[in-house]
Symmetry: C2
Subunit: 321 residues, 2 copies
């Protein structure tokens, strides 16, 4: 099969073996996959795949079930699915545990369906399972125009919460507000002043891919019993913390990634997405946000767009498969 | 009534008004109360009572229900109770919401019963509700010989978890090991080396009253998906944090206090204590750990013992009431 391999730090389309499947796995013939910031890190050698995962980039896909292991009960050959992957998505075929694949929303095409698993699984895990999101909560998303941000805004709308965002420019902020965010601020020195004005009592949840640069301001902007969920470190790792503030406000700081989690946890997340989020997608209340669909051979171009923060929403790769 | 008031930073027995009760409150004639580290802070003006709470020191008591508000349903005059208080325990009478009082364990005397509410409520809230303690978890308690520590060790035993402690001297460590802790280390430069040896994969929960001085070492000693719960700041507030480590290990840092929590939360905690912990107490599997019972007029003496970390377990005050 064709697959993207990393050669001298660059993504290149190469020949690879079709993966073998274990008894609880399915083999998916991939129709489309999508880029994630983790892919850029992995390409640089900074984010090795978890033990047992494919060395090939790619954390999500849409496609058709091509073969099933002998203990698989929930999927059959020919099923149209979306899947959350621990790796291997930038390829014509991928193997994954059966429960990490759920039915493709019937109203979406393959490209749209491929844009969903990673960002919705990440948002579901962090907002609902880790962050205990409740009706009426105020949520702040940094990088609001990212895949995660645009998914998060729509989930807040669907579940009657209020979302606020920060982003790199005014066009992105307008996009997020049109999508349902209550307000947005452009990245810069005075950004957090604006942010604090939106929630004088503090946010209930902040979903943060930035890390150190925003850390102290994030904790100040967080309310009583607020949850700061760190899902990325684009702004560094080393920070100061005022434990007195944390204790008095009874706040939580949660470090979170999804890729290295157990299959059991991923099964729960995907099952909840299917039951609780897919209905909003199938009724068009939640829509995929796609910046551009490229051919899988254009991986480097897509990564460049992401590296330069030019995208609003997801960068999708068609496999032409 | 007699009550302890703070005059020029010292506790002194004075005359005070018997508190009035609201429709959902009960009035308790106090038989015994107990000292907590928060009392020392409050005496110094560093920990003001939450809005609406009594200015009188004292976060727990045992006693007899003396009057009930007209909407009270769960308690009646004459009931023998233990209560978690937002303040007012160092007195002959105290008013509190009915659900913060639960029946006194039938096998305990008043002094023993007064030693339970604050430490068991704190441990229940933090280990089980905030920390999601699971069977087989490894838990580290700093200040293992404190009221909280000795309660935590016994809860770990009762719920099939393993506990480890640090403390100020060998006598305290021996006491904790006799009580059920698996190992203990004396406070000092090499303490965390020893601590890490007990749990090479890291602890599941660390319950920490120290704060800054232990913070970085605590996070290193914490395992994958471990929870560091900060309940005190005896070792300062300002610390450094490595968010990369936090994220890769998917750890949680939780700032927690119980005093200023909602009545609704306290009701849940006390109800769970009554249902799930009181049976262990009534079967003598969990025992009160009391350093000394003093008369309420000896408040300063008791506080001195606590300030100097001389106590193993609780300092209880008899009211002679």
């Amino acid at each position: 099969m064709k697959a993207i391999k990393v050669i001298d730090g660059k993504a290149a389309l190469q020949e690879a073996e079709i993966p073998t499947i274990g008894p609880n796995d399915i083999l998916i013939r991939i129709k489309a996959t999508a880029a994630n910031r983790a892919d850029l890190m992995q390409k640089k050698g900074l984010y090795p795949p978890p033990p047992g995962a494919s060395e090939i980039l790619g954390l999500e896909c849409s496609g058709i079930v091509d073969a099933v292991g002998n203990k698989v009960t929930s999927r059959k050959v020919g099923d149209e699915v979306c899947a959350l992957l621990a790796g291997g998505g930038y390829a014509e075929y991928v193997a994954c545990p059966e429960f990490q694949a759920i039915p493709k929303p019937t109203n979406l095409n393959w490209d749209e369906a491929a844009s969903l698993p990673e960002v919705y699984a990440t948002c579901w895990l962090n907002l609902f399972m880790e962050g205990n999101l409740n009706t009426g909560n105020k949520v702040l998303f940094h990088a609001g125009a990212s895949g995660i941000g645009t998914a998060g805004i729509q989930l807040c709308n669907a579940f009657n919460c209020e979302s606020f965002i920060t982003a790199g420019d005014k066009e992105k902020i307008k996009f997020c507000i049109d999508l349902g965010a209550s307000a947005g601020a452009v990245r810069g020195d005075k950004m957090f002043n604006e942010v604090q004005g939106w929630a004088p009592d503090g946010f209930d949840i902040i979903l943060d891919p930035v890390g150190a640069n925003y850390f102290e301001d994030n904790l100040k902007a967080l309310g009583l019993e607020g949850r700061l969920i760190i899902i990325g470190l684009m702004g560094g790792m080393e920070a100061n913390i005022d434990l007195g503030h944390l204790m008095m406000k009874r706040q939580k700081i949660i470090g979170s990634t999804i890729r290295a989690r157990s299959e059991e946890l991923k099964k729960i997340v995907m099952n909840e997405l299917h039951k609780k989020v897919w209905p909003f997608i199938e009724s068009n209340q939640i829509k995929p946000v796609i910046h551009e669909v490229l051919n899988i051979s254009e991986t480097e171009k897509a990564h460049q767009i992401m590296e330069e923060n030019q995208n609003i929403g997801k960068l999708v790769f068609s496999l032409g498969n």
